[in-house]
């Protein structure tokens, strides 16, 4: 490949990488600032341009004095996301297996239509369901609770699990299920003893996607919780609208997304095994 194209290519990649990394570096740098570092304009490199301070980071854990609590929202986010993802993954995987292996018919409704019903939930803008969910949870006494959010998130995340797993199961030959049954397994036994152990890559991908979309939800957490059960996205937005110093805000932001960075590594390693290519389709 001619040198010109190579240079252009590498330049583009470099520029884009810089663009990708920039907000994170900025947040990191800002989190180490204090009032002195900000007043006269933008500064970037600690020690060179300003004196770093751990004020931002410390403020997150001393909620009594600063009023900024990260531990609570983090724990809530973790609990809600993990619970909802687990339930969605379980129910969604079972449903996906049923749809990929068996034939259902209710009048003119066939497998394809049921699958479409699951997947089409992703098209729904949150706003359409927000108010009814609000009233529904209010009736059930589940507003501002972990249980209420989990319930709503299940409806959000199950379609993702179904979408990924249906695709995945399509790649496992039915002959394997048949062999398991011939060898003495009932259909349910075949699923749990044979298919499931061979579905780990798909389950990981589906699980990761569920966790990501659950962790990142803002709108439903915003409408359905207030003071008792705050999730991270809601917490940071309320910090943003009140007078919160940038250094605390940046530190908060970085901690909020840190689990996701870990997940990015996991997802990438499964991608290089080739199983994500099919799942993303």
């Amino acid at each position: 490949m001619p040198l010109f194209y190579r240079i252009v290519k590498h330049l583009c990649l470099l520029l884009w990488s810089a663009f990708v990394v920039m907000p994170f570096l900025w947040a990191l740098s800002t989190s180490l600032k204090d009032a002195n570092a900000i007043t006269s304009g933008a500064t970037y490199i600690p020690w060179l341009q300003f004196q770093p301070s751990s004020q931002g980071w410390r403020s997150l854990f001393t909620s009594a004095s600063t009023g900024i609590d990260i531990v609570g929202p983090f724990a809530n986010s973790a609990m809600v996301t993990l619970l909802a993802s687990l339930i969605s993954l379980t129910l969604g995987t079972l449903a996906a297996y049923g749809l990929s292996r068996f034939e259902f018919r209710l009048g003119f409704i066939k497998n394809q239509d049921i699958t479409f019903f699951f997947i089409s939930q992703r098209i729904m803008p949150p706003i359409v369901l927000a108010i009814p969910f609000f009233l529904m949870l209010q009736q059930l006494g589940l507003l501002d609770t972990v249980a209420g959010l989990v319930l709503v998130y299940i409806a959000l995340l199950m379609p993702i699990a179904v979408w990924v797993m249906i695709d995945f199961f399509a790649g496992i030959p039915k002959a394997l299920d048949e062999m398991a049954m011939i060898d003495g397994c009932t259909p349910i036994g075949a699923f749990f003893r044979v298919i499931l152990p061979n579905s780990i890559p798909g389950l990981v991908v589906a699980g990761m996607f569920c966790i990501i979309f659950g962790w990142n939800d803002f709108f439903f957490a915003f409408t359905l919780t207030f003071t008792q059960t705050q999730l991270l996205p809601v917490a940071i937005v309320s910090l943003n609208s009140s007078v919160t110093p940038w250094w605390s805000l940046s530190a908060f932001a970085l901690i909020s997304i840190s689990p996701l960075i870990l997940i990015a590594f996991v997802v990438e390693s499964y991608m290089s095994r080739g199983s994500l290519a099919g799942a993303i389709r």
């Binding site: 030959p173 002959a175 394997l176 048949e178 062999m179 398991a180 049954m181 011939i182 060898d183 003495g184 397994c185 009932t186 036994g189 044979v194 152990p197 061979n198």
Partner: protein, 352 residues
């Protein structure tokens, strides 16, 4: 004893039409037929993977169709090597035994015994993905044998293996299959006539969803009862030409009377289909034929010839070369000809 009475499967890619047969335990039945004849369909309906449209399947007098797939006491070796990817070779063979309520220890012991039988006792801890195709198929075979099931089915098990492996396993199979004892009905499907005739105690020929012939390999080979049987039972295939019997002569297509035919042996006058075995055409003789194609297969030569009355294949032992479009002299051994009437029946074959 496995009995099929008027078994039919209607809505399917290869439908089955009125299959009736009795299969005895302890014998190897090779089911021979072209692709699409219904061989796999037959096995699938026996397994319960397809639904019967009509008819009965009885095992020792009891209806098999009423039992679910997992309770039918069968074993299967599939053409695509199907093993459980997440289990080791040993666990693979032990899997059905554990489902049969064997203890872990007993299952393993039994699995080791059968793996030794197929020559894989050194690879117990490996996973199927680490094995070659032939080894994977042996694992599948060991698993099927270890079950000691009443019905043992093998669906073209050698078709995805390379030539040498296929030959080797073809010789081993009869011994291995008999190891299951006299208790199992063994069904082996194939499209390869050599495999069918070599391995089967009885050959069942399937054509378009029907059984068109069944019997000992030698009798099917020498005296195929129907034209559909003759078409599959020989490799290279039997060549068919139309002919008529009239005026004490056998006249082949295009008004070519065949010499050397004993008038007393001829059937009643009428139209017939004549079957010419490849080994009944010999070089040197009164008939002219043009060479269309020469194939050398191992130590045999297969020559595609064009006669005045149609095309036929000649099989020669040894390696010979002919020029394309070369005209050679051949003779046809009249005594080995097969004759089929308009309904496809072999006029010389006995009924039943």
């Amino acid at each position: 004893m496995l009995t099929l009475n008027n078994v039919a499967v209607a809505h399917s890619k290869s439908p089955l039409i009125d299959i009736s047969h009795k299969f005895e335990a302890g014998k190897i039945y090779t089911i021979l037929g072209r692709t699409g004849a219904g061989k796999t369909e037959l096995l699938r309906v026996l397994m319960g993977l397809e639904k019967l449209s009509s008819g009965q399947i009885l095992l020792d007098g009891e209806s098999l169709a009423s039992r679910p797939i997992w309770a039918r006491d069968m074993a299967l070796v599939y053409q695509q090597f199907i093993n459980y990817p997440h289990l080791s070779v040993l666990e693979n063979v032990a899997f059905p035994l554990r489902r049969q309520k064997f203890s872990k220890h007993a299952a393993r012991e039994r699995a080791v015994h059968y793996l030794r039988l197929v020559g894989l006792d050194q690879l117990l801890g490996r996973h199927p993905s680490q094995l070659s195709g032939g080894q994977q198929q042996r694992v599948a075979l060991a698993r099927a044998l270890a079950k000691n099931a009443r019905i043992l089915m093998l669906d073209e098990p050698l078709v995805n293996l390379d030539y040498k492996l296929r030959e080797q396993l073809r010789d081993e199979f009869p011994r291995l299959l008999k190891e299951t004892g006299g208790n199992s009905v063994i069904l082996y499907t194939t499209t390869d006539p050599r495999e069918a005739l070599q391995m089967g105690d009885e050959v069942v020929v399937l054509h378009a969803g029907r059984i068109v012939g069944a019997g000992k390999p030698e009798s099917l080979y020498h005296a195929p009862t129907r034209i559909e049987v003759a078409a599959v039972v020989c490799d290279p295939p039997i060549s068919f030409v139309t002919g008529t019997v009239s005026g004490g002569q056998l006249v082949l297509a295009g008004n070519n009377p065949l010499t050397g035919v004993d008038a007393a042996q001829l059937p009643a006058p009428g139209a017939y289909t004549v079957g010419i075995r490849p080994d009944s055409i010999e070089p040197g003789g009164p008939i002219n034929a043009r060479v269309v194609l020469t194939e050398i297969s191992g130590s045999e030569t297969i020559v595609h010839l064009q006669f005045a009355f149609g095309a036929a294949i000649m099989l020669l032992k040894g390696v010979y070369r002919f020029q394309a479009d070369e005209v050679i002299d051949v003779s046809i051994r009249v005594g080995a000809l097969l004759m089929f009437d308009q309904a496809g029946r072999n006029i010389h074959a006995k009924k039943g």
